[in-house]
């Protein structure tokens, strides 16, 4: 009960701002409820036993000589096994819905600065192929470079280089990331997404923002003294605003003259 109350009334998670965040929160709620039940149950049992079976004044002798109980033991082996199996399969399903199991090479990344050997790892939050087709909106590709201690965003289509990530609401975005020096990590809590940015090995992260606003991009991997200060912003805008920003900053603008 307390758990359900906490879920509804405490802000346990930040704002939902990407298409996979609600899926994440669904998993979170399930884990939270299971966790609370287990924790409260075990704590209750311990406290109850301590009170009920404590040695009262004047009592002598030992407790009951109970050493095992097969049915009971089978029960508490089987139940956790079923629970973790369920949790495992369920989170696999969640992961699939987030697009985590997509094979990366079938996706639309081959145009980019990939290693000649195609060694691209990562790819959480990949919108699945179906989604992309259904949604007919083209994928926005951005190259991300991380270095001590900043993120640089490069929009190849408009030849834009920016310190802030601008993305339109509702359109899938694909980031191909590589680090110039040490390992960094790209994390947007409101998107519930994180991916390490690794030197010598591009990684990919895909997402579809769903809520306009400014959210922090946080480096989540220790990368040196200023690791804590390595932050940037992702600006989710309405598509029109985004187009305006894009026009204003892109090199093509000059060519149109």
């Amino acid at each position: 009960m307390g758990g359900i109350w906490a879920l509804d009334n405490l802000n346990l998670l930040p704002v939902v701002a990407s298409s996979n965040a609600p899926i994440y929160d669904e998993l979170f709620n399930v884990l939270f409820v299971i966790g609370i039940i287990l924790f409260v149950g075990m704590t209750g049992l311990v406290i109850y036993s301590l009170i009920r079976f404590r040695k009262k004044p004047g009592q002598v002798g030992d407790g009951i000589a109970l050493e095992d109980n097969l049915p009971l033991e089978i029960f508490w082996t089987a139940v956790p096994a079923i629970v973790v199996l369920f949790v495992g399969l369920y989170s696999y399903d969640i992961y699939e819905r987030m697009g985590g199991m997509q094979s990366l090479s079938t996706n639309s990344h081959d145009h980019q600065s990939m290693n000649s050997e195609g060694r691209v790892w990562g790819g959480i939050g990949l919108t699945s192929q179906d989604d992309i087709e259904k949604n007919s909106l083209p994928m926005i590709n951005v190259d991300v470079t991380a270095l001590q201690f900043a993120f640089l965003f490069n929009y190849p289509e408009g030849e834009i280089v920016s310190g802030e990530l601008h993305v339109p609401r509702g359109q899938p975005v694909s980031l191909t990331m590589e680090s110039k020096d040490v390992i960094h990590a790209f994390w947007v809590p409101e998107f519930r997404l994180k991916q390490d940015v690794i030197p010598g090995q591009p990684t990919v992260i895909n997402f579809t923002p769903t809520k306009t606003g400014k959210y922090p991009i946080i480096c989540a991997e220790l990368c040196g003294p200023y690791h804590g200060g390595m932050r940037s912003t992702v600006v989710v805008e309405e598509p029109e605003e985004y187009q305006a920003w894009f026009k204003q900053n892109s090199k093509q603008k000059e060519m149109e003259l």
């Binding site: 301590l50 009951i64 109980n69 994390w187 809590p189 010598g200 090995q201 989540a220 220790l222």
Partner: protein, 549 residues
């Protein structure tokens, strides 16, 4: 010093071993002396690691980097993690209690290799001193206790190299210890004593030592390669020279995940010894306990990549490691349910030892549940490298292992010294620690979920209040150390005499004098076939675990 001197036999007179308190600062071969050396040495490092934790918490009182410079903060947290793991938990739950108890439990007069044992201990103080002095000389390592390259290659080399050498020494010490425990348990058992009659702590140490022997050498090899990268500019883990940073992570976690069970399995064993004594009941489910330890050992070796879910591992790998990790909850759960069943129907004396053990159960269950959550790839992607993880592992290492260490000290202090500890102070210690601990680490779950990464000296001001609450908890924990220290020192001098077996316990270490003589028993080693033979039916005949040979 109230430790009784060895009976002066002719053989002892030509031994070069010092006697009296001098034994404790010498190259003693006595397993009991070595055990206490580990314990005291470990506790000193705990206080140092705790002061560093205090510095972390003071820095985090405000969202800007003010108390510590940014690079100093990184050094402090690296030292804190390294000291707490390699110089406090691992040496104490393995080295200290293992050395003290295992020979008693197997009915031997010492460990299988007493000299190797002393060598293993004496590798620790120099390694620890080196690590700490590096902070004052050239600056300590500053790439976290995980020392991920390329960061560890590019930060100042001196500190990192000292860190590597000292971890290599500590690893070596731990391997020597592991070999010794395996040999002692399997080879030195008193004739007539069967494996399935051993106290549970032996099984825990056997499992732990197997993990030590199989995984620590991999860490050693990895750190040697890393030091080549730093000193000789090879490129094993340096992408600029064609290397691969992910390989380091795999090798590192191949050791460091089992390392978490190296920190906790012995603690499981200790709890299994303490609970039956104070509940006056047999340990519930002995056989399933043994199997679950072995299951944890096997599973523990194949789950390491759950620390790397965001490092760009292929999807199939993530899936495999999620499932394997989750399944560790099953054998671990068996142990917890067995402990609760051990409490059930007992005649529980609510003393400090039992309180700390029960505190351990409660805290560890919470830490374990967050662990299972972290094992789910999609969940971990959001909270990896955040304070959620910090909360998870402090619930386990502090709420679990450290609570068990305290519980064990309350339980075995009469054995070590022949004196009782003060119960009132013990309960104050427990209450303060329990409240302080939960106040410190429970809020950190929320911090992690809401966007505070770990290893940062500066953070988003919205988190200030929660961080301050957490720091208050840390202060309470620091304060809670005072009654404990006072209790230990005061009782040593003025404590009530304990007698040989104040708890009426049945395990073999209690069937001799307290403190025990040099070779453990003045007569023949007793054959204890039912170390947990408590319970009503036995108590009529006066519970006796001993089968006379």
């Amino acid at each position: 010093m109230s430790i009784s001197l060895p009976p002066a036999t002719e053989n002892n007179s030509n031994s070069l071993q010092p006697t009296g308190w001098l034994r404790f600062i010498s190259f003693s071969l006595d397993h009991k002396v070595i055990g206490l050396q580990y314990l005291v040495c470990g506790f000193i490092f705990y206080l140092i690691g705790g002061v560093l934790a205090g510095a972390i918490r003071i820095e985090l009182l405000s969202p800007i980097s003010d108390f510590l410079a940014r690079d100093v903060y990184n050094q402090v947290l690296t030292l804190h993690g390294t000291i707490m793991i390699f110089l406090w938990i691992v040496p104490v739950v393995n080295g200290a209690f293992g050395n003290y108890l295992i020979p008693f439990y197997v009915g031997a007069r010492d460990m299988a290799f007493p000299r190797l044992n002393a060598v293993a201990f004496w590798m620790i103080p120099p390694a620890g001193l080196m690590l700490i002095t590096s902070y004052f000389i050239n600056g300590a390592a500053q790439s976290g206790w995980t020392a991920y390259p390329p960061l560890s290659i590019t930060t100042p080399a001196a500190g990192q190299i000292v860190w590597i050498v000292s971890v290599l020494l500590l690893g070596g010490s731990s391997i020597f210890g592991g070999i010794n425990f395996i040999a002692t348990i399997l080879k030195l058992r008193r004739p007539g004593l069967k494996l399935m009659q051993l106290p549970m702590y032996c099984w825990a140490m056997l499992g732990t030592s197997i993990l030590v022997v199989l995984s620590t050498p991999v860490l050693a090899g990895t750190l040697i390669l890393l030091s080549f990268d730093i000193v000789a500019h090879t490129g094993f883990f340096n992408p600029a020279l064609g290397g691969n940073v992910i390989v380091y992570q795999h090798l590192f976690w191949f050791y460091s995940h089992p390392a978490v069970y190296i920190m906790v399995l012995p603690a499981f064993g200790l709890v299994s010894e303490i609970l039956p004594v104070h509940c006056r009941k047999p340990l519930f489910g002995y056989i399933t306990m043994v199997y679950s330890i072995m299951a944890i050992v096997v599973l523990g070796l194949v789950v390491w990549a759950h620390h790397m879910f965001t490092s760009g591992t292929p999807p199939w790998m993530r899936l495999f490691f999620t499932i394997a990790t989750s399944f560790i909850a099953v054998p671990t759960g068996i142990k917890f349910f067995n402990w609760v069943a051990t409490l059930w129907g007992g005649r529980i004396t609510l003393n400090s030892a039992i309180l700390f053990s029960c505190g351990f159960i409660v805290n560890f269950v919470l830490g374990g549940i967050t662990g299972v959550a972290l094992a789910q790839v999609p969940f971990d992607i959001h909270v990896h490298d955040t304070y959620f993880v910090v909360a998870h592992f402090h619930y386990i290492v502090y709420g679990g292992s450290v609570f068990v260490i305290f519980s064990s000290i309350y339980h075995w202090y009469p054995k070590f010294t022949g004196k009782m500890l003060d119960e009132k102070l013990g309960i104050i210690h427990f209450v303060l620690t329990f409240i302080g601990f939960n106040l410190c680490f429970a809020p950190q779950h929320w911090l992690g979920l809401n966007g505070m990464p770990r290893r940062v000296a500066e953070y988003d001001p919205q988190f200030t209040l929660i961080n301050q609450i957490s720091s208050v908890g840390a202060l309470l924990m620091a304060i809670s150390t005072l009654p404990f220290l006072w209790n230990i020192l005061y009782s040593f001098i003025k404590g009530e005499k304990a007698g040989n077996n104040p708890w009426q316990a049945l395990t073999p270490e209690w069937l001799t004098t307290s403190p025990p003589p040099v070779e453990n028993w003045s007569g023949e080693a007793p054959l204890v076939t039912k170390p947990y033979g408590y319970g009503e039916k036995n108590s009529d005949e006066g519970s006796s675990p001993i089968t006379q040979a």
